[in-house]
Symmetry: C2
């Protein structure tokens, strides 16, 4: 049987990031139809000290990439945060999806018991066993940023619904 | 070893719902300090056709209850949606937490391979195997409503942060 650590990470990230790609496509079409500068949406936030849409998407991609890499036991690839347009974000998501898709389920075997160090070498360093890292830390973080990206778009009138958020599964 | 189906559901729901309880406590204090009628916050929403805070909390509790019950193979307890105040929501969350806490990890053994029927007897009926039901359907739904509740409060200026959302783990 495929490792539960794999089926609870990579396929879930793929489902949600592909859904986010489709939502960003609808966002681009919405902006064009309503004469809205997409940059306005990308810089929208729900409160002044929260991250804007663009950063929410970057962080969601980073969690998908980082969690998958750490559980698979490979180096986390570095993706520069230089996106400025919806097309740039689509490319970032495509790169992230290609990376996590390149990982093999077998690499996740036993990862539930392997330690993961968060923020190594900093005062906030925290050691978690792989299973807790995935379900108590990683998934709550990942879904937070995917949902907040969706919430920013809904708040700005982009016509997407729960089915868009859920994606294909 | 404890069933992965258990550790990926009940403890995660407990973490997030306890966090939500603490967030609602801070919300009550914030409303009192700023002379805000808590009912205004409970009826706040990010867009007119989205659910308000009160309903987001009810639905988050329902997913925690329903997913846990179905995986454990017990009847889903019925909780009436009659909450009107923050205190009512705290009681609803406490009832939900007591229920999921009453389930034993052993009841989740093998649930990854058991079928779960969503919306039985309706045109939208869908059969999922337990594992997909939890990670591809249940968790995305649960986190959606917890995060949206948080987002509504942040949008309304309640001073909570990511650490409040994440809870204790």
């Amino acid at each position: 049987m495929t490792s539960f650590m794999y089926t609870t990470s990579v396929p879930v990230f793929k489902q949600m990031l592909n859904a986010l790609r489709a939502i960003l496509e609808k966002t681009e079409a919405h902006a064009a139809a309503k004469n809205i500068d997409p940059a306005v949406l990308l810089q929208s936030r729900l409160f002044p000290d929260m991250f804007p849409l663009l950063r929410q998407v970057q962080i969601a991609a980073d969690f998908a990439k980082g969690i998958s890499a750490r559980l698979a036991g490979v180096d986390v690839p570095s993706h520069e945060d230089n996106e400025q347009s919806i097309a740039d974000l689509q490319a970032r998501l495509a790169t992230t999806l290609a990376f996590i898709d390149s990982l093999d389920a077998a690499q996740f075997e036993g990862s539930e018991a392997r330690d993961v160090i968060l923020r190594p070498g900093t005062p906030k360093e925290k050691k978690l066993v792989g299973q807790a890292y995935l379900v108590n830390y990683g998934l709550p973080q990942f879904f937070f940023h995917v949902t907040t990206a969706y919430a920013i778009l809904r708040h700005n009138g982009v016509e997407v619904g729960k089915r868009d958020y859920m994606g294909e599964f």
